[in-house]
Amino acid sequence: MSDAIAYTTIRELGARYRARELSPVEVTRELLARIEKLDPALHAFVTVTPDRALADARAAEEALRRGDARPLLGVPVGHKDIYLTRGIRTTGGSALFADFVPDNESTVVRRWQDAGTVLLGKLITHEFAFGLQFPGHRFPPARNPWNQEHIPGGSSSGSGAALASGLLHGATGSDTGGSIRGPAAFCGITGLKPTYGRVSRAGVMTLSWTLDHTGPMARTVEDCAYLLQAMAGHDPADPACSTRPVDDYVGALDGNVQGLRIGVPRNYFFEDADPDNVRAFEEALGTLRKLGVEVRDLTIPAFNRSRSFMLIMMSEAFAYHEGDLRRRPELYGEVLRERIMTGALVTGSEYVQAQRLRMQTCAEVAEVMKTVDVLATPTTPKPAPTFKMMYDPEIAFPRTNMPPFNLTGQPTLALPCGFSASGLPLSLQLSGRAFEEATVLRLGHAYQRATNWHTRRPPV
């Protein structure tokens, strides 16, 4: 298979299927061969599902012959391994669930299946979406395709590595403190954390009930729009899932961003930032200005208190894991175990106060969002760190630029905006008003039409 096919967009893939230039079975066979060749070094997949993939591909081929127009028909995808898949092992990246085969599946898995996608397999996640696997773990961590000495970001690490390597065309991720956007940033792809409540979390392993988001990862904003369209919408099985109607995300990509107002919060997001990240970000703002966007600087003091999100995440993670942690602690990775255990040390009062601070942050940001349409920041303050750095057991939880938008629940997109001097991808973060995914996607799409960072390929 040529790289051109492995890296084609979802829209182009559909067009070539319908022009009979390619077939889903042919593409699926080629991608399975590519996975067999590249994944032993990348470790993006926990489980490859060739029989299921080929069955899905044959069904898609049949549907195409009948004139079925679903845009995701025959599109090869994978699911982060915290999404339950009926009859397919779902490990959570943990020894605790190493052989767990669910008899039900998540709403999003079912929706993508109903959309006609081809399931290639399950993608490695940091253990329970929280802890990088250290050497000796039952499941090895994914490697960054741009430089395998570096992490691909987490926790949706397999999703990021697989997309950057051209092993599939779309993937699910989850994002509690940046787990969609971090891998998108470090792997040079695109990821969207939708508004809290826009996409169902039913059947997805929990890290933190009030911070968890599910969303799409892909190589382009347009691909994310197609994937979001097929996963968004009310689900009574997730009590936080909104009943609001779903917008036309693909239709919103009209390229017209003239007059949009971007606010750049100059506090918090630039602390200790690498000069390469700042340079790439400022250049991205310059591109957006040329597209007719108005850019202004802001200060949002509440973001300076964002670190308190850890109190919420760790408390809720401990509540979810307490039984297993007390009964079978040896099945948790050491660093993860202690991170979750730290949640037991947060008092009830502190948890409540952290939620109150969070509400104050939401209120403060809501006021700002009356004056601008989108907030822009660097997605991360630095490029991907090395495994060697992350294997330092004294590292607690690195500070990043993503948790503020888990606290506020706003739709937030990460997309490539350049490279560091060492050749690692850099990323732009765009955050819109609640349930205004269409605006964020429209802006990101216009940026990708004006730049080619998202078309760069790693040396795999």
Binding site: M314, L345, L357, F435
Partner: protein, 74 residues
């Protein structure tokens, strides 16, 4: 009435007391990491008088479209 000022630092003694109260076991050689993790997370709370936080209800039944979120767009 303002809160009593809190110590900005999480001391090792306080950490040990919290561990005992929670009834969990954390190896001695990991206490520094845990102190750093918890200390950084607590710092924003310790820097404010909680009674000055605007009286917005804490929301554990978080409704993305509802009034608790603060970010409302009709």
């Amino acid at each position: 009435m303002p809160d009593e000022p809190k110590s900005p630092e999480l001391t090792m003694d306080e950490l040990r007391a919290r561990i005992a109260a929670a009834g969990v076991t954390i190896p001695e050689n990991r206490l520094n990491m845990v102190r750093k993790l918890l200390g950084e997370a607590l710092a924003p709370l310790r820097a404010v008088d909680s009674r000055t936080i605007r009286p917005l209800e804490p929301s554990v039944t978080f409704d993305a479209g509802g009034p608790h979120v603060g970010v409302r767009h009709e």
